[in-house]
């Protein structure tokens, strides 16, 4: 099957879901989500049946990367993320229903829910396109598709002030970054005269490249992409938006948007890194951003008390590690021994997906049955719901980078890269960050296992469906397996 069918199927699925929502009377609109999940599962399976074309002469391939297992891998990440987001969305349904408008008398009690399930599908398609985009135009449009869907999804809870506030913040800053991106694209186009990444690379690596202008373009593009992935000091939106957004969407943001953002960052920056005239300053800047990101993300997470905010800072922190890997790109003139940053980033993102989504899945289950998202609300959870606590413990252990989990392998690879490239400053701050990570991730574990529950807290076990539990187990196993045998993930793209 041709590779571009994948997105088409996903979009079609999304449309079908919208149609069903509009025209079919459903008792429980969650069926729409189930449909979407089944569809996504099928698409995920189809990923392994993809055929690459013999020739890529057609106009289409100008916009669509070909023969690249990397892009398939990122599509996979997008699909898995969306799948889990839909799952979370079904769990989160009661809150969505309560927080959106109360419908007219004769309307469906779950009015407005169908779109909540359908929008992630379009975002997913956008992410998948992003994964394959190899042209400024296609990058721009797919990126914007994702961004605009996220504006909507973040602000989805119309009756919830937090959600709307998050939406506005995201909107303003997102648009700002888009403006910078566009300006940067304009300059890049001006310097190279082409929209093709291949052409851009060729132009930038030629000896008569206009260094000043190229660096200016680089700065503008970097700024906006750093914004997307949450690099400091462009990360300020993240905690606020993560906190306000509906929990499944927060998960989606932190994984899908970040993964795609990093892939685009890799794609757009690699021409600059390939140019000997530019690479020096470029890596310094990347290093500086990574440095700040690591520092701020990890340290500011230490005092956090709201769980989603904590995960937001954690997301920043992990962006720091990823940027650290990126900053450790070997110079083109050196023979690239060891792992390439791209591989490391890809692995890291895969691991990050597993652990973050597991964490969010648990949190969604908890949030759907408890009012608070404060860390203190988890007190004594271990006795109340041992399984959920264990799952969250796994997620936290992996995020903290405890060995034999996927998270550790990711950090290990990043550190190795930094040592190979002798990036000592980054290494030190990375260490500080990882150490801080032990604290703030284990804080959750401590709250669940060590603290006594509040006096008035319920002792009823939290409910989770069999499917949810199964998926949690799958994620836990995946975290461990990827931690012991990284080949399982690495094999997907190398």
């Amino acid at each position: 099957m041709p590779v571009y069918f994948l997105e088409i199927i996903v979009v079609a699925l999304g449309l079908v879901m919208l149609m069903i929502d509009a025209f079919v009377k459903l008792e429980d609109k969650r069926s729409i989500a189930w449909l979407g999940m089944i569809g996504l599962a099928v698409v995920f399976g189809l990923l392994f049946a993809v055929k690459w074309p013999e020739s890529t002469d057609g106009v289409f391939w100008q916009f669509y990367e070909s023969g690249d297992s990397f892009s398939l891998y990122f599509k996979g990440i997008a699909i898995v993320a969306t799948f889990l987001v839909l799952l979370m969305a079904t769990i989160y349904t009661p809150i969505v229903v309560a927080q959106t408008a109360r419908p007219e008398k004769d309307a469906h009690p779950q009015s407005g829910l169908g779109e909540f399930f359908a929008l992630p599908m379009f975002a997913c398609a956008g992410l998948m396109w992003m994964a394959s985009a190899n042209n400024l135009v296609s990058i721009f449009v797919s990126l914007e598709t994702v961004t605009i869907s996220f504006y909507i999804m973040v602000a989805y809870l119309r009756r919830n002030v937090g959600s709307l506030e998050a939406g506005v913040k995201y909107l303003i800053l997102g648009a700002l970054s888009t403006a910078f991106l566009v300006y940067g694209f304009a300059w890049l186009f001006g310097i190279t005269g082409t929209m093709q990444l291949d052409g851009i690379k060729e132009a930038l690596t030629s000896s008569d490249v206009n260094v000043t202008a190229a660096l200016f373009a680089f700065a503008l593009i970097l700024v906006s992409l750093a914004f997307k992935v949450g690099g400091a000091p462009f990360h300020f939106w993240i905690p606020d938006v993560y906190q306000g957004a509906p929990t499944p969407i927060t998960a989606f943001l932190s994984v899908g948007s970040k993964a795609a953002g990093f892939l685009v960052l890799l794609r757009l920056i690699s021409p600059f890194l390939a140019s000997d005239a530019l690479v020096g300053k470029v890596t310094v800047v990347l290093g500086a951003i990574a440095f700040l990101t690591l520092l701020i993300g990890n340290l500011a997470a230490l005092p956090q008390k709201n769980f989603k905010r904590l995960l937001a800072y954690s997301s920043v922190a992990h962006a720091g590690f990823l940027l650290m890997a990126l900053a450790c790109t070997p110079r083109a003139s050196e023979t690239a021994a060891g792992t390439s940053p791209a591989q490391v980033i890809a692995f890291y993102l895969g691991a990050y997906l597993l652990m973050t989504l597991l964490a969010f899945l648990v949190v969604t289950v908890i949030r759907s049955q408890m009012v608070s998202e404060e860390v203190d609300a988890f007190r004594g959870l271990a006795k109340r719901s041992p399984f959920l606590s264990l799952a969250l413990l796994f997620a936290m252990a992996s995020l903290a980078g405890i060995p034999l989990t996927a998270g550790f392998v990711g950090k290990f690879l990043v550190f190795k890269l930094a040592i190979e490239q002798e990036q000592w400053f980054l290494l030190v701050v990375g260490l500080i960050g990882a150490a801080a990570g032990f604290y703030y991730y284990l804080k959750i574990a401590a709250s669940m296992y060590l603290a006594t529950p509040a006096k008035d807290a319920s002792t009823e076990p939290l409910q989770a469906t069999m499917l949810t539990k199964t998926i949690m187990v799958i994620l836990m196993v995946a975290i461990i397996v990827a931690g012991i045998a990284p080949n399982v993930i690495m094999g997907l793209f190398s």
Partner: protein, 108 residues
């Protein structure tokens, strides 16, 4: 001969316009106006794009790829404005304000 208009002129105008937009984003407090300023920044970027297309011709014609990108930018901007205004309206409905400094319930 009069001093010719160079690419620099256009780029500078676009840069200044971009900066004006940025300044607007930073100083205005009305969400809608801020959003307008963001559009202004996009428009400024457009000018750069067109200027580059025109000054770096291909086969004696402007590089129309830039124009095409601009077309997409305008489209996307329109969609963004629609969505953005919808969000702002929704926020106004629940908060009765469009003052950006009052939208800070989540922090630290």
């Amino acid at each position: 001969m009069e001093s010719a208009i160079t690419l620099n002129h256009f780029l500078l105008v676009s840069g200044i316009l971009f900066a004006i937009g940025l300044a607007g984003v930073l100083v205005r407090r009305n969400l809608i106006v801020i959003f307008m300023c963001l559009e202004l920044m996009l428009a400024a970027a457009n000018l750069t794009l067109v200027a580059f297309s025109r000054f770096n011709p291909v086969d004696g014609q402007p590089n129309y790829e830039g124009h095409v990108l601009l077309f997409f930018i305008i489209t996307v901007a329109a969609a963004e404005v629609a969505v953005g205004l919808a969000i702002i309206v929704a926020l106004f409905r629940s908060r009765e304000t469009t003052d950006v400094t009052k939208i800070n319930s989540m922090k630290y």
